[in-house]
Symmetry: C2
Subunit: 470 residues, 2 copies
């Protein structure tokens, strides 16, 4: 499957790789290649020539050196939960799964920092730092299975981003293996940094195309003691989006402000079971709003203000979660939407993002464009960030219409995002499936700068080739 | 003063520049060249061939194009308050002062965003957004005179960074004129962004060497309603630093946590007048601690916890500021330290930064290294960030010792920073005066990556030449 510009793995290469990682951590078994040839992006599969699982930084370095010297594609993979095809080995070659580099090396309570290897699962890390009274906020919907290294590849967000920021905001320093096998630390373990070009921030969101992250130093913050969760129903989805912006203008920053339109709710419930309360037929959208902090009286006050804003925007009766179980039940509806929608139909997921107050215009535009091209979409996401996930459903559409008209519709949606001051991905990345749309938001000289940076870091183009741009 | 690699301004170039910016916005008058040949870095002066003051983005673009085509150095200058020589036109050529691009274009209350030109003064911007109940936190000591464009050049911090982050954390999108005159927007006006390499973050902190910022879209946050300020005296500077770390481990994040050692206090008071309360002779250090938020009871509770931590670390009696005047008086002591120290002696300022809990070790190390080389230092800064400004005082040292031994001492201080997990600049940048020390913290392949990025953005090397690296 190697393209003309790259070399395939030879038996000599295989032997060399085997001597680097050890016999039990290399495979070219078709079943393994198939397993590691997929992520959570639609139904795409691409086969590498070989799967390797390094256990040390030195092994990662040796693998990079070998691939670089032989011009063999090297695609790094975290937990494979990506939604833009970023971890797919589309040019064949070596698929390097980081799964064995999964240690939490240190939780430094003196400095509120942690040093981890990239394959640590987000939720496991969150849970571990909580034991020290500390907090690592970024929480993608896939937090139970996604890896911190993958989170860095896309600067992943999650519901808490609205108050606490995305992965980017918690990375202090990265150990990176470069394409030629050299190992660098990109910055320092400090809260402030003004020491030359910021390679830490350049690496975050670069989707494994500039280097391979082998250690991460995260900033942690004190764990808030309390949180309150509200479910707020609306008979108009656009009105729900409008209410979102007004909450922030009241001086309140919720720790989550999630949006689901009717179809998203129905599909999620169908997929993961009844929520234990009535979903009235007239509800067209739900907001899930959380506040957190150390003082319960303050949080109650915040909830009152939020309730008033919501009522002024015509919400139906607000449901307060009264127990941990009820909170989990509400969060489950939101967290399972993505899986639910995908289990139902062939689909295409977009990760649109606009300035927060433009969300009603975006939602309306998405629906209008859908009508024009005859497709249905299910919308949900992080309304507080202006980040709307749009799942376009194939349903009964013919393959011909799906293949011919869908790209036109997506192009119009992305043009609308741009016109509203937004862009085409808030947290899922560009990877494979969005790269053709990049020229919508970037001029050619802008893209040339990105390509130039790629050449500096990876002159032979071996690192995750064919991602972000060709 | 142009180096061999660059061309000097010809009379033809001068005419062209004049036709771009207009007669009253260009000068080669020696007095003007002298004025624009300095910033706040020691007593350095470098003369450009010509000073220009563009009034539009189009003019900036035309100037860049002209300089690029003729290989003329182009140094962009904000308000000239930099402390690392970043705005000095060390290779001659064109000094472009951005001072006429000083409009606040929009404060967008719907989206909690603002769009500004780069020469807007930090304090003026803060003041203006406050009128809308909004907050732009980054507040360098020079906030009354520094420009927002300059803040972006160095990702400037300030006291509030400990809770609210540095300039970097508030920049959503930048309009940038590239070396060849092309104009791009680096990102989108969104809170989340995962759309290719993050050129916004690459531009921030690049000190005018990669492009010229002509518009900025900032994120704003709700303005906290209340703040409380405490002055906490210690008889041991190291004990004061130790107490700092413990506050955060109590789950409290103050909105300022400033440190001044005895000499800094004395010099500041000598420079700007008595503070209206007694500074006891046995005090060796002061902490200035602020908390802010919307609920006064919560803030009072935080202050109690902080007081307990401080008392457990042996502080003397804590002074609570009881009026806006008293708050201003306390802040004035801290904000004037830099100017005060500089007015007293020839000096060299370092901007060391380490993980917060390593601050006592850094302070002790700085003093030990000073003793070894025979120099005195005055230390103060943002203790909550681990960011210690070290002003090394020439005092009675001979020029010979100063010139010969000082670089050795600074090298040892920076080596100590690195060993403690820190780096050589937290918020002042590298500019001209720190560039020789960069190899202490970066390997040569790391520096090569930075140089490679520079070549991609500025192949002719015209933008602020000789800064960060040669």
């Amino acid at each position: 499957m190697a393209s003309d510009n790259y070399n395939k793995i030879t038996s000599i290469n295989f032997k060399e790789l085997e001597s680097i990682v050890g016999k039990e951590f290399i495979s070219s078994d078709p079943e393994q290649l198939n397993k590691y040839g997929q992520d959570e992006t639609e139904d795409l599969v691409f086969l590498a020539d070989v799967v390797v699982k390094p256990q040390t930084v030195e092994q990662v370095s040796a693998i990079a050196k070998l691939c670089n010297g032989n011009k063999i594609p090297l695609t790094t993979r975290g937990a494979g939960t990506g939604l833009s095809g970023g971890a797919l080995p589309i040019r064949g070659g070596v698929l390097m799964s980081m799964e064995k580099l999964n240690k939490i090396i240190e939780i430094d309570e003196r400095n509120l920092q942690a040093t981890v290897e990239p394959a640590v699962i987000n939720y496991i890390f969150q849970d571990e730092v909580k034991k020290s009274g500390l907090f690592y906020p970024p929480d993608p919907a896939s937090w139970g299975s996604c890896s911190l290294g993958g989170n860095i590849a896309h600067s992943s967000g999650g519901p808490k981003a609205v108050k606490y920021g995305t992965t980017r905001d918690y990375v202090l320093n990265l150990q990176v293996v470069l394409a030629n096998g050299d190992v660098i630390w990109t910055g320092a373990n400090t809260l402030k940094y003004s020491t030359g070009y910021n390679l830490t921030h350049l690496m975050i969101g670069s989707e494994g195309t500039l280097g391979i992250v082998t250690k991460i130093v995260f900033k942690l913050i004190p764990l808030p003691k309390h949180d309150l969760l509200m479910l707020i129903p609306f008979t108009s989805a656009e009105q729900a989006c409008k209410a979102v912006g007004e909450v922030f203008r009241q001086g309140i920053t919720p720790s989550a402000m999630e949006f689901m339109e009717r179809d998203a709710i129905d599909w999620s419930i169908k997929y993961s079971g009844e929520p234990g309360f009535e979903i009235k037929p007239e509800w067209q959208a739900l907001l899930l709003v959380e506040v957190d902090g150390n003082n319960m009286d303050v949080l109650m006050g915040d909830c009152e203000i939020i309730s008033t804003v919501m009522q002024n925007n015509g919400c139906d009766e607000i449901l307060f979660a009264e127990s941990a179980e009820q909170k989990n039940a509400l969060w489950k509806i939101r967290r399972k939407v993505g899986e639910a929608v995908k289990s139902n139909s062939v689909y295409k997921e977009e990760d649109t993002v606009v300035p927060r107050a433009e969300l009603p215009a975006l939602l309306k535009g998405v629906k209008d464009i859908g009508k024009k091209y005859g497709f249905k979409s299910v919308c949900y996401g992080h309304a507080g960030d202006g980040n709307l996930h749009v799942n376009i459903i194939k349903g009964d559409l013919s393959d011909e219409i799906w293949n011919k008209d869908l790209p036109k519709g997506i192009t119009e949606i992305f043009e609308l995002c741009k016109a509203l001051g937004g862009t085409i991905s808030g947290e899922h990345g560009i990877g494979l499936v969005q790269k053709n749309y990049l020229p919508i938001v970037f001029t050619s000289n802008h893209l040339d700068l990105m390509r130039g940076i790629k050449r500096i870091f990876d002159p032979n183009g071996i690192l995750n080739p064919g991602k972000i741009f060709d």
